[in-house]
């Protein structure tokens, strides 16, 4: 099975409370370390689990290609991903200002035509704009089926995957005949969320994503990382949406400290009037 994983580089998702507005009123993430968007890392982890025997993860039983639309500095992120087990990486030269979700989706669709993967995997949303859109738009452009909000994946054979989609208060299981697009939730990296046909059913992964060993990072320097131009993929690069302004939320001020449960109930009734 060949899997293409699309990843986005974002400002450190654990420190987003430190973002500011620039004098021009734009969002300023200066000082926040660029990192891979967590859900995209989970997508990579799921792709690796689908293409290996979990008890012998050094041997790749399939191919995993990672792609990002970003400036050259993002190559460090791609190298780290090659270190964890991806076979190849593609960087499409672009800046965030020149992209929107639809353009990324059209770029990915063109790359899919060249690469011919069985599955494209992404995080269900990226950690900055959180639009939750690229996977669905890509599936539309390719006319492929989509499974969003994936919390579990089971490979039956190389032609079909059963995906557990976590909806509100329910899990919907769908069987996708490949090729298909899958977007994942964080739950996908739980020990038994991905069941590959190559891996014994008893195998449990450590919770979370794998880290690259130093040796693997060194070895990954020899893995192919190619650069492409956006124009190699799409002829029309006009954007469909544009952010014109931003604002920070009003601070919720700290309220009062109450003495005890009795005081709390009284205030909720008399002051807040919510009981």
């Amino acid at each position: 099975m060949k899997i293409l994983v699309a990843v986005k580089r974002v400002a450190d998702p654990d420190n987003l409370n430190k973002i500011k507005l620039s004098p021009k009123g734009e969002i300023d993430t200066t000082g926040l370390e660029p990192k891979a968007s967590p859900y995209d890392e989970y997508a990579l982890e799921a792709a690796l689990r689908l293409t290996e025997n979990g008890s012998n993860p050094k041997q790749r039983l399939g191919e995993v290609v990672v792609v990002t639309f970003a400036p050259k500095a993002a190559e460090q992120m791609l190298r780290a991903m090659l270190g964890t087990g991806a076979d190849r990486a593609v960087r499409v030269e672009a800046t965030d200002e020149g992209l929107d979700g639809d353009l990324v989706a059209r770029g990915l669709a063109a790359l899919v035509d060249k690469e011919k993967p069985d599955v494209v995997m992404l995080g269900y949303q990226q950690a900055e704009h959180e639009s939750n859109e690229v996977g669905q738009m890509l599936a539309a452009h390719l006319d492929w089926p989509q499974a969003t909000f994936a919390g579990s994946i089971r490979s039956e054979d190389d032609k079909a995957l059963v995906v557990g989609r976590d909806l509100e208060g329910a899990t919907a299981y769908v069987r996708l005949t490949l090729p298909a697009v899958i977007t994942v939730l964080d739950k996908i990296v739980h020990p038994k969320s991905v069941q590959s046909k190559h891996t014994p059913a008893t195998h449990a992964y450590p919770d979370g994503v794998r880290f690259a060993a130093l040796m693997a990072i060194m070895a990954a320097k020899k893995k192919p990382l190619v650069e492409m131009k956006l124009a190699d993929l799409v002829t029309e690069s006009a954007l469909k949406v544009r952010y014109l302004a931003a604002e920070l939320p009003g601070k919720r001020a700290a309220g009062v400290r109450v003495k005890d449960a009795k005081d709390l109930v009284t205030r909720l009734k008399r002051e807040a009037k919510v009981l």
Partner: protein
């Protein structure tokens, strides 16, 4: 004609309440709007939508639409939009809407604004306000294509009340599936049954953190029962296995905005706060006086939760 098409969402043969938020949005735009009700059993449910002032309610009732497979829904929405000439398509920002809307936008060659929580018109152009960066910023998004697709957050667009003249019902046929629909088979739906109100719709939410350990249910359920509340949890509590994952409130879980949110043994990680800071009144109970949750809480109680929560249950009963 220019105007808005609201795509309703059905669940078990009734209209989901979140649909009424999309109707509120359509009313705010001010242009005429129609409602599309599609699904298995949509004819029976359409009567629930005729009292909101829509120019018409279009019904597409087809047994093939019994499962929420967007590859089967999108072609019919596209043909309804093309036929009616609607320039804006609005849906609730539910799992169903967020799965379907971007696919629809790509099919219509339209720009998409996800999860909007505000709207303004400046110089004749619409700007959509949407939360980003885990709730730490809002962006004002302009769509530059002639057709707009939006999903509307029910937490900020209040459910529409019935008003206006009754809308006529028009039936339409389902458009042929996308070819890709043959490659997605619905296997089963496993509902997570609960007698409590749904997290997104509850008036009161009681949420617990990792500090509750194995006593998560034992401590929180009496309080939730006393308040008629939904139960939520922090990511840490879910990751540790103390609470099931579907209870998670936060950036990676559900977004809630109840009248009253009680955070118990929750430190207040950014990712949790992103999912609950729209609540009207926030109460925090935590034994650590420096827990960040106190910085956003309207009422803070610094006490061991294992003492405070049973006392709170007793007080609620005493003062009721």
């Amino acid at each position: 004609m220019a105007g808005t098409l609201v795509v309703a969402e059905l669940s078990d043969g009734t209209i989901r309440k979140a649909t009424l938020s999309a109707i509120s949005f359509a009313r705010q735009l001010g242009a005429p709007f129609a409602i599309l009700a599609m699904g298995a059993g949509a004819s029976a449910a359409a009567g629930q939508l005729t009292g909101y002032g829509a120019t018409k309610v279009v019904v597409v009732d087809d047994a093939v639409l019994k499962d929420p497979v967007c590859e089967r829904y999108v072609p019919t929405i596209v043909s309804t939009v093309n036929e009616g000439g609607w320039d804006t398509i609005a849906m609730a920002a539910s799992a169903f809407g967020k799965d379907l809307a971007p696919r629809l936008a790509a099919r219509l060659n339209a720009g998409y604004a996800a999860d909007i929580n505000g709207l303004k018109v400046e110089g004749g152009s619409r700007l959509y306000r949407r939360p980003m960066y885990a709730g730490n910023a809002f962006g004002w998004l302009a769509i530059v294509t002639p057709v707009h697709v939006v999903t509307v957050r029910p937490t900020e667009f209040a459910a529409a009340e019935p008003e206006g003249s009754a809308s006529p019902i028009a039936t339409a046929a389902r458009a042929p599936d996308e070819p890709s629909a043959s490659r997605v088979a619905f296997v089963k739906l496993e509902a997570i049954t609960s007698e409590r109100p749904d997290l997104a719709e509850a008036r009161v939410v009681v949420s617990g953190g990792r500090a509750l350990k194995e006593q998560f249910k034992q401590v929180l359920e009496p309080l939730a029962n006393a308040l008629g509340a939904a139960i939520g949890a922090s990511r840490a509590a879910c990751d540790a296995g103390y609470a099931p994952p579907e209870l998670q409130v936060g950036q990676t879980g559900r977004t809630v905005a109840p009248q009253l949110y009680i955070a118990i043994g929750i430190s207040g990680a950014i990712q949790h706060i992103a999912g609950m800071k729209g609540s009207k009144v926030i109460v925090a109970i935590n034994k650590d006086p420096d827990a960040p949750i106190f910085q956003i809480a309207d009422y803070g109680l610094v006490q061991d939760l294992f003492v405070a929560v049973p006392e709170l249950v007793r007080e609620l009963k005493a003062q009721s």
